[in-house]
């Protein structure tokens, strides 16, 4: 296996813009999806559950829920792009095989794909942010500072997703990752309720999961509360992104350069 450290070059933007071009052709349906989904979620769950729950952790539930969904939506969007779309380009469509006849190398492809996954995550959560403000669930303008964190969260989940794609013999294998890691994070990491309410022995496990750190950054910013331990959370997310990138490059090299 080729364990050489990956190089980050400008050519990664060629890969990013190839994906952007494809996305631009489907801009209408994807915009409808990006805005329509959170509209339904926030209105339905936020208002419906909110009227029972009232406040959670000192914030109205109509604010608590979207401030968690902002983080989980980046996670889901970046992950699905890194799994299904990357796999499609790597295996059935042989898009990368075509790229590897040009000066692009696996390093550029993986870096470009990670940027693209993070971009899609950023787009989906920005849409939630807009909807949140429109329906009055979010009110504090400091929420705008979430945007760079959305991108970082996207990178953090893109790397591991591409690692899974590079190992998967077929689409069905994604179920392991989704069921064993993604869904548990979605449910246990504090999107719907504060992690504190879970039994004490579970908490340390939850704390190592990246979505907990993503929520720890996004929720206070979006709901107008003070941020704590920013450096720690940023470092954890960046570590997942960096290690994920390195492993993804090594494994995609193994799959494509043989």
């Amino acid at each position: 296996m080729d364990w050489c450290l990956p190089k980050v070059r400008m050519s990664m933007f060629a890969v990013w813009s190839r994906n952007f071009r494809v996305w631009r052709k489907l801009i209408l349906p994807s915009t409808l999806f990006n805005f329509g989904e959170p509209f339904i979620y926030l209105l339905g769950l936020g208002l419906g559950l909110g009227s029972f729950i009232g406040e959670m952790d000192g914030v109205p539930y109509l604010t608590f829920l979207p401030s968690g969904l902002l983080a989980s939506s980046v996670m889901n969007t970046a992950t699905y792009e890194g799994l299904f779309s990357v796999y499609t380009r790597m295996v059935p469509q042989q898009t990368y095989e075509g790229m590897l006849a040009t000066p692009l190398e696996v390093d550029d492809i993986v870096a470009g794909e990670m940027l693209w996954c993070a971009t899609k995550g950023l787009m989906s959560s920005s849409a939630i942010l807009v909807v949140g403000f429109l329906i009055g669930a979010l009110q504090d303008w400091q929420a705008i500072f979430c945007l760079p964190f959305f991108f970082l969260i996207g990178l953090c989940f893109a790397g591991p997703a591409i690692v899974v794609s590079s190992l998967a013999p077929s689409y069905d294998y994604f179920n392991y990752y989704v069921t064993l890691l993604l869904t548990p994070m979605f449910i246990f990491c504090g999107v719907f309720y504060p992690v504190r309410t879970l039994p004490d022995f579970i908490e340390p496990f939850i704390q190592v999961l990246p979505l907990s750190h993503a929520i720890a950054l996004v929720r206070p910013l979006a709901s107008g509360q003070p941020l704590h331990n920013v450096l720690l959370h940023v470092c954890v997310l960046a570590a997942f992104a960096g290690i994920g990138f390195y492993l993804a490059v090594v494994l995609v090299r193994r799959r494509l350069i043989n």
């Binding site: 790229m99 006849a101 040009t102 350069i257």
Partner: protein
């Protein structure tokens, strides 16, 4: 004929090049120097190791041992700068199905960091050259196999390569498309692009290649000009007779200087004096036979054998 001269260094130089997949040696210690200019062929049956060899030339596969220089640069270390100067037509089309014809060329150009505006008119010329100008805005899924292959060739030329590598460029295409592709490749060759192609079609190799090697089971068996190989390895003429070996032997027992080979129901007679045989055969009513000049296929089959190669 073209801009290169005898003194040019080889465009590809492989020394003791091997590629191993697990225990299996797909390319077995080959030494090869491909001259700059002209068309060089890599012939061999299925599984001979042609694609594996080309993939190493492109840095898409790294050799297990041996040294490799392409365009004077060391592979795989200098892959990026080598690929900048090479065009590739892969064995299986990998056009970008998310895009139309023209978008495929634009996006591919962007991978070479070429600015589309600078090469817009060149891309139009390429579309005309491969006769796809009316398909500019067609999606890839709506193209026929022949159109896809022509687009692959146009795509391989967007960076104006010095070396064009084609892996079975005309396999599975109808005669019209093959002739179109052959004539375009000949034009490219005459304008100074070096062509390196693999093929199963002996006719293709005879028409296009100035020099070729025959590979089998990862090794290079022979090298030479197509005509020279034919005269060296087989008699000038072949007569195929549909009959048993015994019958052929008894029919032609008066004629000397024949080499026989039986394949299925057909006896192949290799000879330098076909007229004597024909005289004998013409006396036999109801016998089916065919007289033809020897071709590269005969060389190929006599070197690589007639059994199915992937059966082992």
């Amino acid at each position: 004929m073209n801009s290169s001269s005898v003194s040019d260094p080889p465009i590809v130089l492989a020394k003791n090049l091997s590629k191993r997949f697990g225990d299996f040696l797909a390319v077995d210690d080959i030494n090869l120097s491909v001259p700059t200019g002209g068309c060089f062929g890599l012939l061999g049956p299925n599984g001979a190791g042609k694609t594996t060899t080309l993939r190493m030339f492109l840095g898409q596969s790294h050799q297990s041992s041996g040294s490799l220089h392409v365009l004077g640069q060391v592979m795989p270390e200098q892959t990026r700068s080598v690929r900048r100067k090479i065009g590739v037509v892969p064995q299986l089309d990998n056009l970008d199905v998310d895009f139309t014809v023209i978008e495929n060329l634009k996006v591919y150009a962007s991978f070479f960091a070429l600015n589309f505006r600078d090469i817009e008119s060149y891309i139009d010329e390429l579309l005309v050259m491969v006769e796809l100008e009316d398909k500019r805005n067609t999606r890839i899924s709506e193209l026929s196999g022949g159109m896809k292959r022509r687009l692959s060739i146009a795509r391989a030329l967007v960076n104006k390569p010095k070396l064009l590598v084609l892996d079975e460029p005309t396999t599975g295409l109808d005669p019209q498309v093959r002739h179109l592709i052959w004539s375009r490749l000949r034009e490219l060759k005459n304008s100074g692009t070096t062509l390196l192609l693999t093929t199963h079609y002996m006719e293709e190799a005879e028409r296009l290649c100035d020099d070729l090697v025959i590979m089998d089971k990862g090794k290079i068996l022979k090298r030479g000009h197509p005509k020279q190989l034919i005269s060296e390895y087989v008699e000038s003429d072949v007569i195929e007779i549909h009959c048993s070996m015994e019958m052929a032997n008894s029919l032609l027992k008066q004629v000397s200087d024949i080499r026989y080979e039986l394949v299925d129901e057909t006896v192949y007679c290799f000879t330098n004096e076909p007229l004597k045989i024909i005289k004998e055969l013409e006396t036999q009513a109801g016998l089916t036979w065919l007289h033809r000049p020897a071709n590269l296929e005969d060389v190929f089959l006599s070197l690589t054998g007639r059994e199915l190669h992937e059966a082992q």
